[in-house]
Symmetry: C2
Subunit: 123 residues, 2 copies
DNA sequence: GCTTGAGCTGGAGTGTACTCCAGCCCGTAA
DNA sequence: TTACGGGCTGGAGTACACTCCAGCTCAAGC
């Protein structure tokens, strides 16, 4: 796959893909005869996972650390598992917080509706 | 309340409190005889709400817009409600994503455990 | 065979959200 | 009465995560 295809299918920009490669989040792909990156489509799954870690607030530095362990091969399973378990706890807390905020916003919206209603009645 | 008390109880730093005031997220509190900020404890509730908007990904610019509407008084209820409803949708999507990621991480952790077990057996 | 477009590199620039600092003032405790 | 500790201001600095740019190469279509 060309870099433009990966960009289109992953939602990352071409610049971001190269940036991720530079900082070690994505393995440098092989190059074609003209020196252009030629990605294995499997990279899409990895990018999706990186996005999910990102969206749940994992820091770049930690994602890089995870990516490096992953690149080292199966002997780093235990460390990767520990990282995921630690992040899992963060995400679980986040889930509670997001639920609370959702409920709070629903209450506030209802409150504002009441206030609007009252203002109409008091004309 | 002194600024140090608000900082201690809100979890924000003193610098951040002054910064929030500067950009319009927090109303400028009255000053004591020596020119020091003297906060109404109610600000704590407002800061907690700001934190929740923050933690659910609302942009600074939008939080400022909301704060400005709030400062304008009850006639801005409808606009604030609209903002909250829009953000509510974002948060609901986020909730789904966080749930998915949590499930994915659980699967991955289980997978890594299996792999570790297998590596032990294959010694 | 020349133009066009995609991709390449290294490095500079951007936006967001703080965070820190110098140099000042003021009120309380020793 | 002087030495602290806490607070003040305006402005500079930082961290993170991209994003953009100049100037180049290469391959393919006309």
């Amino acid at each position: 796959m060309k870099i433009s295809d990966v960009a289109a299918q992953s939602g990352l920009s071409i610049d971001t893909l190269r940036f991720y490669e530079k900082i070690g989040l994505i393995d440098p792909p092989p190059r074609d005869g003209a020196g252009r990156r030629d990605y294995d489509p499997q990279v899409l799954g990895w990018i999706r996972f990186l996005d999910q870690l990102n969206a749940t607030g994992m820091k770049q530095a930690d994602r890089i650390r995870y990516a490096r362990l992953r690149a080292e091969g199966p002997q780093t399973c235990a460390q990767r598992r520990e990282m995921l378990e630690a992040h899992r706890e963060q995400v679980a807390l986040q889930l509670e917080q997001v639920k609370n905020t959702l409920a709070l916003m629903d209450r506030k919206v209802a409150l504002y509706r009441d206030m609007e209603q009252e203002m109409i009645e008091n004309v």
